[in-house]
């Protein structure tokens, strides 16, 4: 149980000399509060597993410090840090029974037997492993194995945090849902800090209170799922979160107006503070743009196709060469190959060099 602070933490697998562009993790400072459910979200190779391994001590950082409750634990080995981690592929000690597997982390730390039994029984009950406790941990299905791995991660009640490194990759989709809601329930019951690494946005958004989005070794935004959806701090977040992702359009912005080609769009806020020479883009989610019949005053686009997702229809369009997505209002008959676009001005964001610029209202 602890608050975890990362202070200017960075890591380069190439050693100290390498320049910052090659860092697997670029310097970050952030705080993980006790009892939080966090998700580290990002595509493969964005540094999320590196960050996790730095916290657990499997990898020693080349720069910066990690504090548990204000105490610097950077030089400590994994065994001495109070941390649990569950890996992508299940690790089972197959000469032991399921129960002995669960008890292993406690036994190694010299916890009295009576406490071990009580804790193992509790974890087994929460994970529905009670009937299997006495059987040997061989010939198990992948999800049973991963449940045992999860159990070993959760069995210690005194850990600073439990880290999950894409633990549900090997599980069937249906069981994935069950195990994920189980984890969520366990988080409520056990009052543990959990950090969950994934590249699956659904997984991250359903599991976590706070989602930390990583991109190319950098944390680009951390916030609640709603914040990530409504106000992406980086074009990558807009594009990565949400399905379909956010539309990004190069534009010229002056004050309350944006020009795309020779068309002008009204913005919800005023932008007089844009940096000189930066690449300016508009970001707007497809959910906040409606397709309408072509009309003067509306930005027009070519329709590629319509995706019917059942509850909602999305049009895939092109504006010049740029791809664009927009909502098709219920009951609206698609007029042909071109359409006009109606923007919700308050939902348009402006990005300078991919970073969100706050406008003034």
């Amino acid at each position: 149980m602890a608050r975890i602070d990362l202070v200017e933490l960075a890591h380069s697998y190439g050693g100290n000399a390498a320049d910052q562009a090659s860092y697997a993790l670029k310097p970050i400072s952030m705080t993980w509060r006790q009892g939080g459910a966090y998700a580290l979200l990002g595509p493969s190779g964005c540094g999320k597993t590196t960050l996790l391994n730095l916290i657990s001590g499997i990898v020693t950082p080349s720069h910066g410090k990690i504090l548990f409750d204000g105490v610097d634990i950077t030089p400590l080995s994994t065994q001495k840090r109070n941390i649990a981690q569950v890996f992508q592929f299940p690790v089972i000690y197959d000469t032991m029974t399921v129960g002995q597997n669960l008890a292993f982390p406690l036994r190694n730390r010299g916890v009295p037997n009576s406490q071990i039994d009580a804790r193992v029984a509790e974890i087994a009950r929460l994970l529905d492993l009670t009937p299997d406790l006495k059987r040997k941990a061989t010939r198990l299905t992948a999800d049973a194995k991963q449940k045992i791995s999860l159990g070993r991660g959760l069995v210690r009640s005194d850990v600073a945090a439990v880290l999950f490194d894409e633990p549900l990759t090997v599980i069937d989709p249906e069981l994935k849902w069950q195990l994920r809601s189980k984890l969520k329930a366990l988080h409520r019951d056990l009052d543990l800090t959990m950090i969950y690494v994934t590249h699956d946005q659904t997984e991250a958004l359903t599991f976590a209170d706070t989602v930390v989005v990583m991109h190319e070794g950098r944390v680009v935004q951390s916030g609640t799922p709603a914040e990530l959806f409504d106000k992406p701090a980086h074009t990558f977040v807009g594009y990565f979160i949400g399905s379909p992702g956010m539309n990004i359009l190069p534009a010229e912005v002056r004050g309350r107006e944006a020009r795309i080609g020779d068309h002008t769009i009204r913005l919800g806020r005023s932008y007089d503070n844009l940096p000189e020479g930066a690449k300016i883009e508009l970001g707007v989610r497809p959910e906040f743009v409606d397709v309408a019949p072509e009309a003067p005053g509306l930005l027009s686009a070519t329709i590629d196709r319509i995706d019917d997702l059942g509850r909602v229809r999305f049009a895939r369009l092109r504006i010049g060469d740029a791809k664009f997505g927009a909502r098709v209002p219920p009951g609206f008959a698609v007029p042909g190959t071109t359409a006009g676009l109606v923007f919700d001005a308050s939902r348009i964001h402006v990005y300078a060099d991919s970073v969100l610029v706050e406008g003034m209202s």
Binding site: S77, V91, Y93, M96, N108, R139
Partner: protein, 300 residues
């Protein structure tokens, strides 16, 4: 399913049958033939039925006494060899580096003894242990240990055992190393997270993951040491007395020394049978272990 009857198919089997016949069946049958007969030279043979086998398996007879004495000696030798080489091989494998240039250096160094022909190994140790000109023998006597493998039984045994350990521990070590290398890093990381001690890592992860290669190592080392001939023959010639006369040395003494073809043939058949039975036991254990593993993987 309908099978096509085609007697010409026999011709396809014929080459294999001929090769096996000439390489294995005929020589073996010759031995069976000898084991049933007695000869006094001159290429004259007399039918003796199972007489040699009866004598061989009767410890009170001369032949039986020699056979059982060498058999127990040989089993004891194999047991000592396994008891030393298997743990030692594991320790060597565990202390080998996991990556870097030193891996290749270790592997080559370990492989060296395995590349030396048996009789050369024997000769090396025969000279190495001599009290007058051998480095080992001279040094031991120099520091006051009265070591002489020609006259002292214990010294002879010690020499033969140390020689075998020197020659073959590498094999066990290399097999174990291969087993260790196949363990994914995730296991070690998980063990770190679980706070496992070095010993717990060994018993919970490394030993179970090595058990297949260990079984193969035990099988190979048992077979080799049970059939050992050249090295002790070159070093001690089976002596002093009969103290290092193993089964194969006894067999050669009877067959070539005394030219008792019938007795030697009976002994070699029984010897062969023991080896086949032990092989079969190991094979059964291994395939059962393998089947268990396959079932497990099938379920995963």
């Amino acid at each position: 399913m309908d099978k096509t009857v085609n007697q010409k198919a026999w011709f396809l089997v014929l080459p294999v049958f001929l090769v096996v016949a000439f390489s294995a069946i005929l020589p073996l049958m010759t031995v069976v033939n000898y084991s049933m007969q007695d000869t006094f030279g001159n290429n004259q043979f007399f039918w003796n039925g199972v007489g040699w086998f009866k004598e061989l398996l009767d410890p009170s007879s001369d032949l039986g006494g020699r056979f059982f004495a060498s058999l127990w000696r040989n089993l004891f030798f194999s047991a000592v060899i396994l008891a030393i080489e298997v743990p030692l091989g594991i320790v060597v494998a565990l202390s080998m580096p996991r990556d870097g240039w030193s891996v290749a250096a270790c592997l080559v160094t370990l492989a060296l003894p395995l590349l030396i022909p048996w009789n050369v190994v024997g000769t090396i140790w025969q000279i190495f242990g001599r009290p007058d000109i051998g480095l080992l023998g001279y040094a031991l006597n120099g520091i006051g240990i009265n070591y002489n493998y020609v006259s002292n039984e214990f010294d002879a045994w010690a020499t033969v055992i140390v020689m075998d350990v020197w020659h073959w521990t590498s094999l066990v070590a290399l097999l174990c190393y291969a087993g260790l290398k196949s363990i994914p890093d995730a296991y070690y990381q998980a063990a770190q997270i679980d706070g496992a001690s070095r010993w717990a890592v060994f018993t919970a992860i490394q030993l179970p993951k090595m058990n297949r290669v260990l079984l193969i190592a035990v099988l190979l080392r048992f077979m080799d040491s049970f059939m050992i001939y050249t090295e002790p023959f070159v070093v001690t010639g089976g002596g002093p007395g009969n103290s290092t006369t193993f089964v194969s040395i006894e067999l050669v003494k009877i067959a070539l020394g005394q030219f008792d073809l019938g007795k030697a043939a009976a002994l070699s058949l029984v010897y062969n049978l023991i080896i086949i039975i032990v092989c079969w036991i190991f094979y059964t254990i291994m395939t059962n272990a393998g089947a268990e593993r396959r079932v497990e993987q099938g379920a995963a």
